[in-house]
């Protein structure tokens, strides 16, 4: 009847739930709505905890049939509810706030009135315990319900779970991602892409048109839709209340039709149509990526219109449906596209790849114009950590050298920039003017950002290499401890008074000038100061691309092979002729150079650097995102940066619990997927090898 794991699992699950309760997470989350007025974060957290438990219990009991599975799951819900009720009642009698300060505040026991009592204060005197009963009823039904999903087909279940999680994430981010795209914009883009796609698929089946002609058809359809929108806009469709006007927000892309940007609008639509047609036979990856991006934009558009909708559930269900449909159908269509792609001539394949890459670059390039300052800033943070993650991965993921003092190189890069570009005693002839304004007008730094940037990279790389020399013989844990020490030493040095004149001591270096793109020699108007975050975005984007490029090229070369051989077996690697010292020092140097690159851009973007930005936590963050994303995998690190740096920005409430969540996430990833979420794929070299052999044989015969 009752599976032997049900009761232990439920009791294990109670441990984190009780800890979260006592540390006040429910109280903190109570104030944050996930779905406006309908669902707040604390309910969601409780539901997630109960749901995960029910799922795990259900998996164990599944073979015994639906009824017993639901019974076991419901029992687990009941056990959790009982433990929580006991906690609530105990807390009502004994004030625990002297130990657990964040437990929350309300009359009649501090947990009373929270989600644990269904928001209804309990009252011991009148015997009003309805809140607890409601909570228990919720736990039991919810647990039972979750366990029934185990009997859905596996793929369907995955689609539902992932779509639900993404829906909640997007809903949570609602406040931050407002106005990225409006619903009419998203719908117009979707329409054009789908039209181009469907037309190309139809032409594929019914006509003998060439691939280029199909792209032409897609472009034509895009043009037709654009003309339609132009006509509707001319008839007042873009005015308030018009067909093209969203829920109270002026469309961004569609509005281009009304002014001088109309040419851009037409080009965008035509390209979108052509892209749709090309996607019907393009490599599976490109296909899926673009459709997921579109689904994401559509979901954001819907969420954006939710703010003024009367019934918030319509938007939530809309987002969920869009995402679920995308998750269900895109991989299937992607496989078909891949098959079609492989049949196309190589020339078309190359062109299609260039087209897809170009479009992706264009989207990345134009994105900040739509994102707004806050979202750009989040992206910049993600990019900074991606640069450092990819850099540190050279040491940890490829070479297997555990470095816990990575922040040292980051700090060295940032401080080098600060010293070189900021007005100081040196550049002001021995005495600084009294006010900051005077400093700005009367002094300049030794050099501009662009001159200083490569120096920062080289200097970080050099110091990283030098730090590597004494620790070359250390392995594993010992290396970790020593590098940890380096990180701390760097922090002490920049804080110390001995270098105060140069590094600013505890005050750091303020007033780092923003990078200026000065093309004044071509046209006096072409001078831009990169001060706002959506301008700095380009610098971050450039840094990520350059880091990815260099590390990718190195990883797939003689050097990269040497690194990975060292990681696998240092002694054998040396016995295979690999010079350990050179290759390890190179790994130290490359890794540190990218930390320096990131540090310099970081310093320029925040326009001032302070010792407290360079703590052990930076090293830990970078290490965590590598572990979560995948050791030795560039896409993995980028995903890790999105998860560890991007998500917390959406969940500002979690900030106090950031390390707690990091820890939990690390534990889960290490247990469930120890190689990381996107582990590196081994390179497939046979085909290239065969080709190389053929061509070398041909040369031999010719000679």
């Amino acid at each position: 009847m009752i599976h032997r794991t049900t009761i232990p699992y439920s009791l294990y699950a109670c441990i984190p739930i009780v800890i979260l309760t006592l540390t006040g997470i429910f109280a903190t989350f109570g104030g944050r709505d996930v779905i406006r007025g309908e669902l707040n974060l604390s309910t969601l957290t409780l539901a997630a905890m109960v749901g995960i438990t029910a799922y795990l219990v259900g998996v164990q009991a599944r073979e015994r049939g639906l009824a017993l599975t639901v019974l076991n799951a419901a029992l687990s819900g009941l056990i959790i509810a009982l433990v929580l009720s006991a906690l609530v009642l105990f807390e009502a009698q004994n004030d625990l706030r002297f130990v657990f300060q964040n437990i929350g505040r309300s009359a009649g026991g501090n947990l009373s009135g929270s989600v644990l009592t269904a928001g209804r204060p309990i009252n011991a005197e009148t015997g009003d315990y309805r809140g607890l009963l409601e909570m228990a009823a919720f736990c039991v039904t919810w647990a039972g319900f979750i366990s029934t999903t185990l009997f859905l087909p596996r793929r369907l279940r995955e689609v539902i779970f992932v779509a639900a999680m993404l829906t909640l994430t997007i809903s949570l981010s609602q406040g931050q991602v407002n106005n990225i795209i409006t619903l009419p914009d998203a719908l117009a883009l979707t329409l054009v892409l789908v039209l181009g796609y469907v037309a190309a698929v139809w032409a594929e089946a019914n006509t003998g048109l060439s691939a280029t002609a199909k792209a032409g058809i897609g472009a034509g359809l895009g043009l037709a839709v654009a003309v339609g929108i132009w006509l509707i806009a001319g008839a007042g469709g873009l005015e308030r209340g018009g067909v093209l006007y969203g829920q109270g927000t002026q469309p961004v892309i569609l509005s281009m039709v009304e002014d001088s940007r109309i040419v851009g609008f037409f080009i965008a639509m035509i390209l979108a149509g052509a892209l749709g047609a090309v996607l019907s036979r393009s490599s599976g990856q490109a296909h899926d990526a673009f459709w997921y991006l579109l689904a994401g934009l559509l979901a954001l558009g819907i969420i954006n219109s939710q703010r003024r909708a009367d019934n918030v559930w319509i938007a939530v269900i809309g987002v969920f449906s869009v995402l679920a449909l995308a998750l269900y159908f895109v991989p299937l269509l992607g496989k078909r596209a891949q098959t079609a792609f492989e049949r196309t001539p190589p020339k078309f394949q190359r062109n299609a790849q260039w087209f897809a890459t170009g479009t992706a670059m264009a989207i990345l390039f134009l994105a900040p114009q739509f994102m707004g300052l806050y979202v750009s800033n989040v992206f910049n943070q993600i990019a900074l950590y991606a640069v450092m993650g990819i850099g540190l991965n050279v040491m940890i993921g490829y070479t297997g050298l555990l470095d816990l003092g990575y922040v040292a190189s980051f700090a060295i890069g940032a401080y080098t920039l600060g010293v070189l570009t900021t007005p100081s005693l040196v550049t002001c002839g021995g005495s600084l003017p009294e006010t900051a304004a005077d400093v700005a007008t009367q002094c300049t730094g030794i050099m501009t950002f662009w001159e200083a940037w490569p120096i920062c990279v080289l200097f970080s790389g050099l110091t990283g290499t030098l730090l590597g020399i004494p620790v070359l013989r250390l392995r594993g844990d010992y290396l970790a401890i020593v590098t940890l020490g380096f990180g701390e030493i760097t922090n002490r040095v920049i804080l110390s008074n001995d270098f105060r004149d140069l590094l600013g001591g505890a005050q750091g270096i303020a007033g780092i000038p923003s990078p200026v793109i000065d093309l004044g020699m071509f046209n006096s108007a072409w001078t831009t100061t990169l001060s706002r975050s959506n301008d700095m975005y380009y610098l971050f984007l450039f840094s990520v691309i350059i880091t990815m490029f260099v590390v990718y090229q190195l990883a797939n070369s003689r050097t990269g092979r040497a690194w990975r051989a060292i990681k696998a077996d240092e002694d054998v690697a040396q016995a295979m002729g690999i010079n350990l010292m050179n290759n390890k020092l190179l790994a130290f140097g490359v890794s540190s150079a990218f930390a320096g690159l990131g540090g310099a851009v970081f310093g320029a973007s925040v326009q001032g650097i302070f010792p407290r930005s360079f703590t052990l936590l930076v090293s830990i963050n970078v290490l965590s995102l590598i572990i979560i994303g995948g050791m030795g995998s560039i896409p993995g690190v980028i995903l890790g940066a999105f998860i560890l740096i991007g998500l917390p920005e959406l969940l500002r409430e979690l900030d106090a619990y950031r390390l707690l969540t990091f820890g939990a996430l690390l534990v889960v990833v290490m247990i469930v997927k120890p190689e990381g979420l996107l582990p590196p794929k081994p390179p497939e070299l046979s085909e290239a090898g065969e080709a190389a052999r053929r061509s070398s044989n041909m040369t031999k015969e010719a000679a």
């Binding site: 490029f549 260099v550 090229q553 190195l554 797939n556 070369s557 003689r558 050097t559 990269g560 092979r561 040497a562 990975r564 051989a565 990681k567 696998a568 077996d569 002694d571 054998v572 690697a573 040396q574 016995a575 295979m576 002729g577 690999i578 010079n579 350990l580 190179l586 490359v590 081994p682 390179p683 497939e684 070299l685 046979s686 290239a688 090898g689 065969e690 190389a692 052999r693 061509s695 070398s696």
Partner: protein
Amino acid sequence: MGDVLLDVQTIVKRFGGLTAVNHVDLQIERGMIASLIGPNGAGKTTFFNCVTGFYKPDSGAILFEGQPIHGLRTDYILRSGVARTYQNIRLFADMTVIENVLVGMHSRLRSSPIGAIFRLPATRREEQAALAKAMDLLDFVGLTDKGDLLASNLAYGFQRRLEIARALASEPRLLLLDEPTAGMNPNETEAMTTFIRKLRDELDLTIFLIEHDMKLVMGLSDQVSVMDYGVKISEGTPSHVQNDPKVIKAYLGTSEVDEESGGVIEDAELES
């Protein structure tokens, strides 16, 4: 006396109170297949480790092609032309079969990190040539079509062959094989015997191997050396060694000499 390729002169290796290799002299001529046998713990692998630079001998000298190599780092010794395999297979498990071979070629390639970043023409040509050579080597050892598998996913016998291919990739003149047939069944052992002979004949290699399989040793070797308790107790042609009373004593642990010769050692073949 022919052309001596490897000349080991009275080397000694001690670990604390234990003398693992005690004043051992050994010469191997170019083009030979030489074997080193002895009971477990006789110091054979320690001897290999001294030759390949994993251990530094406490005294004595090792000359390879007349040049001293004792005390050098393993990577220098490999570069001078001595490659080896390991008793417990030590492949780079997370790398593909081709990559393992390419790592073997590391010392013969020149391309620099800068060349790799910008994919300079010289680097690209070198990589292409290396890839083509790696494919040839995989064909040679019988790993055709397995190039993209992870080394750890190969079957045991193939892992042994890959280890040899990796060693061959470094273009050695002397190849040291540490128990190449350990854990193989009679058929696989037979195939390995043929393969080792093919290595010598087709690649002009000199081969020095540690083996417990007496049939293989006796059938293959031009010269057999026997070690026991760190000391070389016998050396010569297979038939000479098989009839040496000291060898029989070392294997059977008795002073009685069984005059029926050859079969004795074969039967005493050790479990590993």
